[in-house]
Each structure stands twice: as structure tokens, then as C-alpha cells.
Amino acid sequence: MQNFSLLSLLRNAVSGHRDWKPFWRDAAPRQSYDAVIVGGGGHGLATAYYLAKNHGLRNIAVLEKGWIGGGNTGRNTTIIRSNYLWNESGALYEHALKLWEGLNEDLNINLMFSQRGVLNLAHNLGDIREGVRRVEANKLNGIDAEWLTPEEVKEFCPIIDISKTARYPVLGGTLQRRAGTARHDTVAWGYARAADALGVDIIQNCEVTGILREDGRVTGLRTTRGTIMTPKVGIVAAGHTSVLASMADIRLPLQSHPLQALVSEPVKPIHPCVVMSNAVHVYLSQSDKGELVVGAGIDAYNSYSQRGSFHIIEHQMAALIELFPVLSRMRMLRTWGGIVDVCPDASPIISKTPVRGLYINCGWGTGGFKATPGSGWVFAHTVATGEPHPLNAPFALDRFTSGALIDEHGAAAVAH
């Protein structure tokens, strides 16, 4: 791997940036691997990286039907935080946040990870109670959290309208200062580059079309680039997980929905943090390029179309302008959608399956980007050892039979 350093940047500047090497080899599939990860999003690539780094598996591959990071990883609004309510989720997301805090160095790449703080606004009594409860629960779990008054909200984010006559008055909010954003596609590239350096094959334009099994155990995969034999498969395919699971006759509690986001024309820095509002259904940050990044909720119906409806955007724009009147004349540049795998308790499934050697990591729905490093870490453990890491044991598929759900609708509502 070609290391980034001040010296390498200078040297390549002098030679006109012609000598940079590709981040990863364009690997062709081998006939067999010790383990194969299906899905080249952030979670799949992180899984491969930690399989190689933490567990010493080098004869492994990541199969991606399109280009890496072209799924939800490259389509999300990059909000990172760990202020979830329950102990199980707090531990999982906080583990991820701690990894983010050292990830630039670990992957030797600038992920533009920015801990600018995430505010969750309260607009009614129910929001206040839920928010204060979550702040206290977070503190008990060692996760930084604060409750802000409306005036403190205004101080932290000056463009918010906190007037009492607003249609959705701001009555306070929770703040996690260590939360923030990162550059999404660099996360995919960074993990791919680091995994490749450890010998992992990153194989793009390779769609898995069948899962081979014998005596209840996985033996290989049928793909558009030939059959690949392997005793271990990890499916990390976000919105397409149900499609892959059905190839192994596994039914899941997932439903796939479109989730949209949009960005404005770039403007000077006006918005220093991330603001989310569950009740009025909008959230806002500003990218380093200056675009305002706006997101909201899913379309109600099941879909694999990677596009959402206009009335959803209309709804979120109404909420946006109500909260930030200063933005009423902003022009929006682009909208796009991803397909998110929504789980009944708004928590992920990181689990063994009824098929031996077949593991799934899914159900992240509208909010999995923030968990990318932690998800890869615990899923690598699960795939390598055949047993869950203590952090993902509560997130097994059998919780839908036992009833031990991890209900994070409060923390995840508008998601992210």
C-alpha cells in the first residue's frame, strides 16, 4: 500500500500526481476462498479488513455486484453518533464511534471525520421526556450526552428559529458533542485499500446469483463471474439481503424501502453542526464543499427502485424551512435514493443463520453508516469464529422468536 504522508504528498505534487497507484488491485475471482463476503459496501469491506487484520484470514474475497460503495454507503447523509437508548445498542454504536476516533490513522487515509456535534431537537412534551431519558441512559453507559435549553440550542446552532410562535417550537434538545460526520465514499475506499494491502480480493461487477449448500451447510456461491467454492459466507447486502437470503431459503423480518436525501447548491459555512428532528422529520448538515445535506424519512411502500417520491421531499422541505427560515430561498441541486433494509425493532441483525457457515449482517435500515467500523469488527469475529462477539450476541436472528427485541424506534425514528 502506498502510504499517505506529508512527504508522499509533496513528492507526488512535484511529479504532477502521475505516480499515484490504484487503491486496490482489480482482482479476478479465484476458484475457492476460505471466506467470502457478499456486498462491497462499507460494512462488507470493513468486515473483510478486520477478518484479515484481527483474525489472520488472508485468502478471502469481497464480491460486489456493482462498484464498491455504490449502495447505501455512497448514498447516505453520513451522520455518526452513538446516543442510542438501550445498553445493547449503546455498547455497539459506542464501540463503533471509538473506532472512528482512530480510523484515519488505522487506515492511513483522511476520512474527513468531523466531530462537530449532533443535536436532536424536542418539539413537544413527549420529545422532552424521551430526550432527557436518553441523555441519562447514555451517561450511565459512559456515552457523552447533554440536554440543552432552547437558548443553548440557539447558541450551538445560530440559524435555528427558536421563537415561541414557530409552528414546531424548539423546546430543547439532546447534544452529543463527539458525534458528527465523515466522507462516506472515502470510508469504502479506505477499507478496500487497507483490506487489499492485506491480500483480500476486492471483486467488482460480480453478482451473487445462488448459494450452494450441502447437508445444511454452505459450500459455495454461484456468481455472474463463475462458481466460487467457500465454507464461509457473510452476507452484507443492505436492501438486497432478503433477495440473497431467499437463495438459501431463509426468511427474514426485513422490508426494503426507498430512503432519499438531497443537497443544495454550495454556500459559505452557515451551519456548524448536525441537527435532527424526529417530530418534524428532517435533518440537516453542511458538507465541506458547502452543500446543505438534507434527509428525512422512508417511502411507505416496499421498493427496490433506488428512488423515492416527491411528496416525501415536499414534506421534509416544509419542515426544514419552518426550522431554518434562512434557507427558504436555497436551491436544491440533486436528490437520490437508496434501498434500506428496515427491521421491526429498528436494530440490526448480526447473526448466524439456520444454514451452517452462512452469516448475515443486515437490518441497519436508515442508520448503519455510523456503525460501519464496529459492524465490520463484530461481524468479522462472527464469521471467523462461528460465534458472535459479545457486542453482537444480543443482535441475533433468534430474538424474533425469543421476543428479546431491542426497540430503538425512539433513537432511530427519523433515523441516522
Binding site: L252, Q255, S305, S309
Partner: protein, 95 residues
């Protein structure tokens, strides 16, 4: 936005409707006899096909009645809507 034909009111805009997920998931005939696993199947496990889907909608801003639709989850094309209790229209693509 989808244009959805309510079997009672005719074609209306999607914002008049609410979504109800997979159709034809019947309440268990003998609930007391169900194992935990059968309950999990009934309560949580759902089909999630990339293709034709039989699904429920309710005309919440109109006649407020439930009905079923045959819709493709990639093209969003609605091939038919039909009243509860009626069998799904027999046609290619429906599993």
C-alpha cells in the same frame, strides 16, 4: 407519486392512502397451538421480493377501506387492485 385505484372510489393519488405491507397473512386458525417459532413467522417474518408483490393499502383519506394490490417493487407498476376476501388475480409473475 403513485396513482392507486381504490376498488370502491377509483383512481386517486398516493397521499390519500396508507400502506399495510404484505397481503394474505392470515391470523393463525388455532393461536394457542402455535410454537414460538410459528409466532415469529406470523408476527415478524415477511416476504420481501424484488418483483411482483401482493400488498395491502387502506384508503385512509377517502372511504377508509382496506384492499389489496398487485405491484412490482422495481417498476412500481400496479397491475391490479382487488377487495379483501377476493383471491389475487391469476396472472404471470405472481407467486
Amino acid at each position: 407519486m403513485l396513482k392507486i385505484t381504490c376498488p370502491w372510489c377509483g383512481a386517486r393519488e398516493e397521499i390519500e392512502f396508507s400502506y399495510g405491507g404484505q397481503a394474505h397473512v392470515a391470523y393463525p386458525a388455532d393461536p394457542a397451538a402455535l410454537s414460538d417459532d410459528e409466532w415469529a413467522q406470523y408476527v415478524f417474518m415477511r416476504d420481501n421480493p424484488k418483483g411482483v408483490f401482493l400488498e395491502r393499502w387502506v384508503h385512509s383519506q377517502g372511504c377508509r377501506r382496506w384492499f389489496n394490490a398487485v405491484r412490482h417493487t422495481v417498476t412500481h407498476q400496479i397491475d391490479a387492485t382487488y377487495k379483501p376476501g377476493e383471491p389475487p388475480p391469476a396472472q404471470a409473475g405472481v407467486k
